[in-house]
Assembly symmetry: C3
Homo-oligomer: 467 residues x 3
């Protein structure tokens, strides 16, 4: 078997017994996935997934970046080149390369997620390796032709109560419309991710802003029209179940400029080629504008700063974005968020969810901020920390100052559909293990731990994201 | 019962057994509290504490900031407004609000401290909740009317050998005088906290400096007179048992200016409205001046930098300082302390105790500095880290480089009187748990662990602070 | 006994059993030491080591800095003064001072290393203390007169397969030549450490560069001649087994200047008294030049930045470098390495090993970088982290993102010859303990853990360093 029923539980027998009891009570709770990146087209069209390599390897930068770090060219893994140059097209060969290097994932969460999918979805029980590569390929490829492996069937099998996808304000939400009109009961909602029209350094920013004007009938060449266009677009997204916005800036910087200064800044960045300071300041101002709109329309504001995107220019030129070369940087929250918090931090009607890629901020900045400001909540261990050790550190470093109730449960944040149940399962196990340790060291009673476990697995996400 | 006798001990049975043996030998040692903020007036007047809400909730920013973070207005918790506006005055109602939200403190040290006080002081054994709120209120309120719950009786019951309070140089130490003249045997000493006359950005700085001149008969409009006034005031504090000074600056920056430059700087900051660079430089220079005076008069110098005070301007305007909105920031020690260390770091007759709110500095900066400079010692896990996980990380991150003997034992650093025994008990348990793990992994022999446990609980604080 | 056979293993019985099995399979593997600082003269001349104090105390800054931090003057420990002033010369008295303060090392890796040497090399089984100081001194002094305690005999007894020493390009490698010509079978190789001719702030930089020209017959007053001299010297070092270069800069900054700008910079720094920015930029450029040469000649490039050297000027003036006053500082890798990585990061024929003294970079920067760039590998927990807790944190913070195979095994990095087996033993035990925890929590199968344990103890170092 690939999976042991006690995986990720504490070694100590008494503590493990508590962890088991806690986990048994939450393992079958539905999945609430308020922050994700699956493709709504899958649920709209409900077509079969392609071959195993294109399901597991090609779209998952966790996998191909690790193989790349060990000198396997991305072309050999079938990653499409921007120039249309030749890459591997034989799914089986891609899969064999991956399988022969499966040992590279020892000790990583990718290994946990994959083994979970291999066993629970496809009934595979021998470890993936060069020897079992073909067995895996054939088994998975065969399954993918069956109706019960189509996106909607998997959605239901995964027990997903609700999942959010992420769309640009320029998206027409056609797949969401198709899902709704299909009469299928699965709850798929959108989230408002305005980076393309908010970040002056985003490719095509000026055209994007113009297009936003066309979509909304607002004059987005003016500051007031631009803001009005956002308001309209947010309302449109809400008609497709949207309850949150999502902002991935290089830093957590915010600003609260007087209206004329904001307007002048908007005009400068709209002219093109803004200075990096102007670009940063505009993003900063827009976080505060988004918070103001959230107070009006109730959307939850998510900020996840601190990634140096596309660090590797050779790969960016050849393959484009999201090639596993986004690297975290030190991130300040205390000074960066102050303008926004000065304005809206005490608002009880506002929810701002903070994520980080800089663990040093957990206990030093994020927990103290969230343990004070009514508007702030902490997002879960994210991206490079979306792992057993990362999740454990998140709890150890935030709970003592912010408690459990200033956190918002788990986000899977993934486009790797088959990994979703595995990721939630890992989070539930790690949280139950943490709670069990509090119980065994007599810091929490077991009846309380049961309540908390349920909240961490289900209730907090549902309440924080109003789902 | 609220308290389990094995709380905070390791889960592993063999390790727990070692922890128990270590703890049994130190649990009843007297409390040495060299760095605290209780009110000396309590011991001077020995009046009964007011109602349960005003004993536990209203003065404790650990409690009310957590409630505030979950949208409970401070007015409803009875926190006085600066403008005298209406706030809740009914202690029972405040207590009920607190009790109904006691689940927010799950996993926090506040919960440990409170449960300890509830059970050991008031005999309460059912968990606090909305259901038990009145039971708690009545039980505690009733006890507070009895003589054995007055400050001096509790001081003795807590087995406090010596406690330091903290006073401004402008304080006349009248309560300390009253304690001494009362003939009561409890040892309450003062500590010299000169922020109001050392920090040009402290409210009323110029008037404070003038007042310091009046108190000492020195011309504090001159640099030499200002320094002489400090010397006199330190001597005065020493007559009330003072063995230490205490400095809470925004950064750890120090300076060692030539005397004329220091004098010119003093004249600039005294004029009012100094630049922030001048204010920072003056604080920096004063740390070095204080070190120089410590070499002369033997007072231990405590530096605890890195808090962004009063981060929330709305709360600061409405309620004032210390409202739970002091947020840690990244803190440099290596470059910041260099001017002071260049001058006095090799002095064997000087003790400088360093605290931090930035855990990243433990292993990277503080332990290497304290493991080298004779004048440096490390203060304990402090404030946001004054918690089981925080204390454990402090030991894990500092011991391997600085050892145990460059640390100074535990400081409770609190104005929450009933939490003092609980805090020392938590520290003793966590240290014994850490030592037990060293013993079980055969890094330390048990006889040595006993010696260290006693030093961490009692001896190091007594020796480092010359108490 | 000083050593327990289960030291450093997890407390939990089941996990400990796994750790034991893993360790049993790797404990006797030969030592591969690719990054060290022992003196090649020892192996060349094979003379007896001097007395116990001069073997253990005087050359080991881990030991004397701790004693110094507790106010023991370095003079009393026999550390030679630059001015030739009087210091303790009686080895026994030095030893007694050390022994009387052995409790200071409780909980430190120094204690583990020393106890290992005391018991395994000298058969000592009672703890070192004032009481046993003379017993230890006599036992060790007696042993050191015997042939089996000479350097070559110890080298063989330690089961060292290969060890690297570190030499300046100005070194004539005479001891390496003598070793080779002696016919002794021990494999001692050199490593190329060019700081004296690469760092414009290194003492004697201009003269060093001139000397480099003399040694190589190149005109090192010109940029092209200077680079050619490096190339020649690297080739010369390769004839003495060199497989790596070693660079200890204050920061990880790299640069990739156009050739004319690099040449102009070289001319500026060669004139003497360069600005600190020019000095930093030259070091930055030279890392990229070294990478370019590594691509040509195959030498592994090691970067270990972030130490503030000689922080204590009083000690530096009196005793010189390496007095235990090198203090870590926050270190950026993401922006600092970008120029070098933009140029060579995707090269499969290049190996760059990154070390850190700033643990915050493990999970935030180093693991994500090494988990992506083919040219990057992570060096082990180093210096202040070369300890059980430090090694554990290294694995916990890097494995989930970079895996095991982007790391390079253990480096002892020491000039303390008798500690080498102890250090490798500690590393093997800690890695086996970590792997055992993965096994017990069902994140890794035991057969895989055996493979990984062997790689961490032996295979990775051999392969990464091409030894």
């Amino acid at each position: 078997m690939l999976l042991h029923e006690d995986r990720l539980f504490p070694a100590d027998a008494a503590t493990r017994a508590v962890a088991r009891r806690l986990y048994e009570a939450v393992q079958h709770l539905p999945i609430v996935s308020p922050h994700g990146h699956t493709d709504p087209r899958w649920y709209a069209e409900d077509r079969p997934f392609p071959d195993p390599a294109r399901l597991f390897v090609v779209p998952d930068h966790y996998i191909f970046r690790m193989l790349y770090s060990q000198s396997i060219p991305l072309e050999e893994l079938g990653i499409p080149r921007k120039d249309g140059g030749p890459v591997e097209t034989d799914g089986r060969r891609i899969w064999q390369r991956f399988a022969a290097n499966y040992h590279l994932f020892r000790g990583t969460p990718t290994r946990l997620w994959l083994d979970h999918a291999f066993q629970t979805l496809f009934g595979l029980t021998r470890r993936l390796s060069a020897d079992t590569a073909d067995l895996y390929y054939d088994t998975i490829a065969d399954a993918l032709t069956k109706p019960e492996y189509r996106p909607r069937a998997l959605f239901e099998r995964f027990n997903i109560e609700v999942i959010a996808t992420t769309e640009s304000p320029l998206d027409d939400l056609r797949w969401h419309r198709m899902i709704r009109e299909s009469g299928w009961g699965g709850r798929v909602v959108t989230a408002y991710r305005p980076d393309p029209v908010v970040d002056p350094e985003f490719g095509g920013f000026r055209d994007n802003v113009a297009r936003l004007g066309e979509l909304t009938g607002e004059d987005t060449a003016s500051w007031s029209g631009y803001l009005a266009a956002h308001r309209k677009r947010r309302e449109y997204f809400k008609t497709f179940g949207c309850t949150s916005t999502d902002h991935g800036h290089p830093s957590a910087r915010t600003a609260d400029l007087p209206a004329p200064a904001a307007e002048a800044l908007f005009q400068r960045v709209l002219k093109g080629h803004p200075s990096s300071e102007d670009a940063e300041l505009f993003r900063a101002q827009m976080l505060t504008e988004m918070a103001r709109m959230s107070l009006e329309d109730g959307l939850v504001l998510q900020i996840h700063p601190g990634s140096f995107r596309n660090h590797n220019p050779l790969l960016y030129e050849r393959f484009g974005r999201d090639m596993g070369a986004d690297i975290p940087t030190p991130t300040d929250y205390v000074r960066a968020l102050k303008p926004l918090l000065d304005r809206f931090g005490n608002e009880r009607g506002l929810t701002i969810v903070l994520f980080t890629l800089d663990e040093t901020s957990y206990s030093r900045e994020l927990a103290p901020l969230a343990g004070h400001y009514p508007a702030l909540r902490l997002g879960p261990a994210w991206w490079f920390y979306d792992s057993p050790e990362g999740m454990r550190r998140f709890r150890e470093l935030t709970t003592e100052t912010a408690g459990f109730y200033n956190t918002v449960g788990f986000n899977d944040d993934t486009r790797a559909f088959p990994s979703i149940p595995a990721r939630h399962d890992v989070a539930r196990r790690v949280d139950c293990a943490y709670l069990a340790e509090l119980v065994t060291s007599h810091r929490l009673d077991e009846d309380e731990a049961h309540e908390v476990a349920r909240d961490l697995a289900y209730g907090l996400a549902k309440r924080a994201y109003k789902l």
